[in-house]
Symmetry: C2
Subunit: 201 residues, 2 copies
């Protein structure tokens, strides 16, 4: 593309690196920023810069944090005896949005995937075991993806914790709320029949 200005070209190139954003969307973003007042662009630029340069990771749960502790580990109202093990920050946000959980998290930073060269040592599993050993943890909830990699990771963690007295649970798998049976895949439907639960529970 022939750009009338090098600065536009740079902005379009950088914006089009964002996931799902092509040159056309990036151009749309650039023209939007040019139309808006200067503060919009400056606020965006600062927010993007601070996001990467000023955030750190929580020392306890490895979630993204502004300081050495994240808002959740730092919150005295959260139940510190409960740990929900998740893959990344996105999952923390998804669970937080349900408003059904008041415990803490442990962000692994990925799941075991030999194909991508990610083994247990690349993840924050040792630090999770350390938390279990040193703290007064009562239960850990495994909330990993229901894929081969997720299951492998869950299995690995359970094996590592088999001598520990804590309770290990996993989020419920089954037909989603609002889901129609005919559109459910066979494995989910099959499992949801095998692992049926008491209706009154």
């Amino acid at each position: 593309m022939n750009y009338p200005s090098k600065l536009i070209e740079e902005a379009v190139n950088e914006l089009s690196k964002l996931p799902g954003v092509g040159k056309k969307s990036a151009m749309r973003f650039a023209l939007f920023l040019l139309k808006k007042d200067e503060n919009t662009s400056i606020a965006l630029a600062d927010a993007v810069r601070n996001l990467r340069t000023k955030t750190t990771y929580c020392k306890i749960c490895h979630n993204i944090a502004d300081d050495s502790l994240c808002n959740i580990c730092n919150n005295s109202k959260r139940n510190k005896t409960l740990i929900c093990v998740v893959e990344d920050t996105r999952d923390v946000l998804a669970i937080e949005n349900t408003h059904q959980y008041d415990g803490t998290y442990h962000v692994l930073g990925g799941i075991i995937s030999p194909i991508d060269g990610i083994g247990p040592s690349e993840l924050k599993i040792e630090s999770l075991l350390e938390r279990v050993r040193s703290g007064d943890i009562v239960e850990i909830i495994l909330a990993l993806s229901s894929t081969m990699e997720g299951d492998t990771t869950s299995f690995y963690i359970t094996k590592k914790l088999k001598d520990s007295p804590i309770k290990i649970s996993s989020i419920a798998r089954g037909i989603p709320v609002g889901g129609e049976l005919e559109f459910a895949d066979e494995i989910t439907l099959g499992r949801s029949i095998l692992k049926r639960v008491d209706y009154n529970n």
Copy 2:
């Protein structure tokens, strides 16, 4: 939404101001930037900041430019006797991408739209008339949207230039290349029959 970090919240808020970007996409952008190395975020932040603070408008054609003249007005190979009148920079880019035009442009910065409070004085029409009067312009091509507002603007410009000896043309309207007749709207199809052109031309 409960964010684990204020900096993430700010970044998501700013990113979700971009057109067509909601909170979920903004979160996806933020997590993408957090995963990439620091330079990606810094380059994006700088490009966004420079886009708005360092670009200016071309003194001749009012297109976005890095200096007082845009790359097109500054290019000695472009035909300076030809002006293509467009609504905004996006249209310049679209026409440039066709590689069929070697003249200059005039970016009006909008089209006459009384409903949005945009009259001729809000647009760069006076400066276009000035260019026609002072320069040795041979032809101007009206390349505005085929809407009521676009047609009004074209009509206004033509009226203002009726005493001028220059040629005024308009981009061709008709059935798009690859378009099927049965899906064309009646007005386009009707006009394309009335304004039919010589087959050998």
